[in-house]
Amino acid sequence: MKILVCISHVPDTTSKINFTENDTKFDTNGVQFVINPLDEFSLTRAMWFKEKQGASVTVVTVGNIAVEPTLRKALAIGADDAIRVDTEATDGFFVAKQLAGVIDNGGYDLVLAGKESIDYNGGMVPGMVSELCGFNFVNACIGLEVNANEFVAQREIDGGKETLEGHLPAVIAGQKGIVEEKDLRIPNMRGIMMARKKPLQVLAPIEVSASTRTEKFEKPAAKGECKMVDAGDLDQLIDLLHNEAKVL
């Protein structure tokens, strides 16, 4: 089985989000970048397929040279090789087209990704890739088994889960549950050393226009003061929620 894992390079979850250049650019100053946590769950599942079922695992990302440390980290976790499409990721559609280009020539059976990136939260790239490549697709996947040409997946639905069956090739967009938090791997020194020597191929981008563009960013309005209520006076809380906030 040939697996491709799509990785997004995103600000660490603890990052303070600021904007610069008149609120038109995300301020990367002082921001630590990581593998998108949802992609990491899917990457970890891919490692399981590699170890238990002899799959090969390639990781891919769309971005300029600055994203390479994130790809190297994926290699240190255990991916076999990496691909970087050398262009700035402008929007979800643009990225999906670049990934579809990699997949069309790659002979992959299974494409794994996270269900969304924690920066732009578009949640669109995996589904778009599946449609562009004519692959089957499962979103919000919380469990995945593959046997020969068939997969069985669980996806999260509102208020429960659903089991789905289909055949490869498929795009699966994972989240926590496809593996557990405790299954995530921290690269060890040997992995980090080996990652330096693993192949990282740089591809020229496909020419395509983005379908959306960020005009500007905005930060949430500052929060007003928190009204403190005495623990012994819960009638006041009920009163505030009913009469002031009008949510009871």
Partner: protein, 321 residues
Amino acid sequence: MSVLVFAEQSEGKFKKTALEVVSFGKELASQKGTELVVLTINAEDVSALSNYGADKVLKVKDPRLDTFSAKAFADCVSQAAIKSDADVVVVDSSSDALYLAPLLAIKLKAGFAANVMAQPESLEPFIIKRKAFSSKGFNFSEISTPVKLIGLSKNSFGLKENPSSPVEEDFQPDLKEEDFAVKATSTDKSTGTVTIADADIVVSGGRGLKGPENWGMVEELADILGAATACSKPVSDLGWRPHSEHVGQTGKPVASNLYIAIGISGAIQHLAGVNSSKVKVVINTDPEAPFFKAADYGIVGDAFEVVPQLIEKVKEFKATA
């Protein structure tokens, strides 16, 4: 030209989020001076749509669509959009809508903005405000394609009544076998409990509750409030509560009217997930807990004393209301 909205239903009824997208679609259609077309799939009773301004209702009836299939549903919406000459298509943010929307975007060659907060800032160019960075920021996204696809964030626009007398029309999209290539074989859905996605009120517990055996009071409070239960990331990582309850940046976003956080300190990742809730109440023993800075109402106190009392107070309130 028209605005097309897909109104999802669940167990024979339109969900609140479906009526919200209809309300949103109506206002947008009025702004554009076009009509609002609402697509329904296997809905028996579409009368609710006339309360929120539908001008036309397209009714798809097909037993193959009794079970959700993202590809088949995306095909229905796409063909309805072409038939109605829609240049804006709106869906909600349910798990099914999030699944089908990217497929639909490709089918319609539509630029797609998800997590949309409000009506467009301008129609020409088409610029719309959406949540990004897990609600730690917003971006104003310009969609440059002729057809625009919008995923409306839950509870961001609300319901707006707008009585109308819609024309109803049966619509038979052309579905192919490959639309059903991924088959749902079973569903495991809790019935009778409120889900985080649909809840107006969410009661959430953190590590301050010390162990899964102490969740009885959280569930009781949720129960009398008609609320959903949720938890912080450490609680789900420890296995005290299921992942489906994990609220935060890598878990679920919450956009309820009221969010009650019990024993949750308020890590930045958790706050990101609950930012979109309108009113936040925090109960914590530590007056320095960062969550108080993001809350509307705070109580410094021991959850094991405060919550049982709060349950009694809410019961009294419900009895008199």
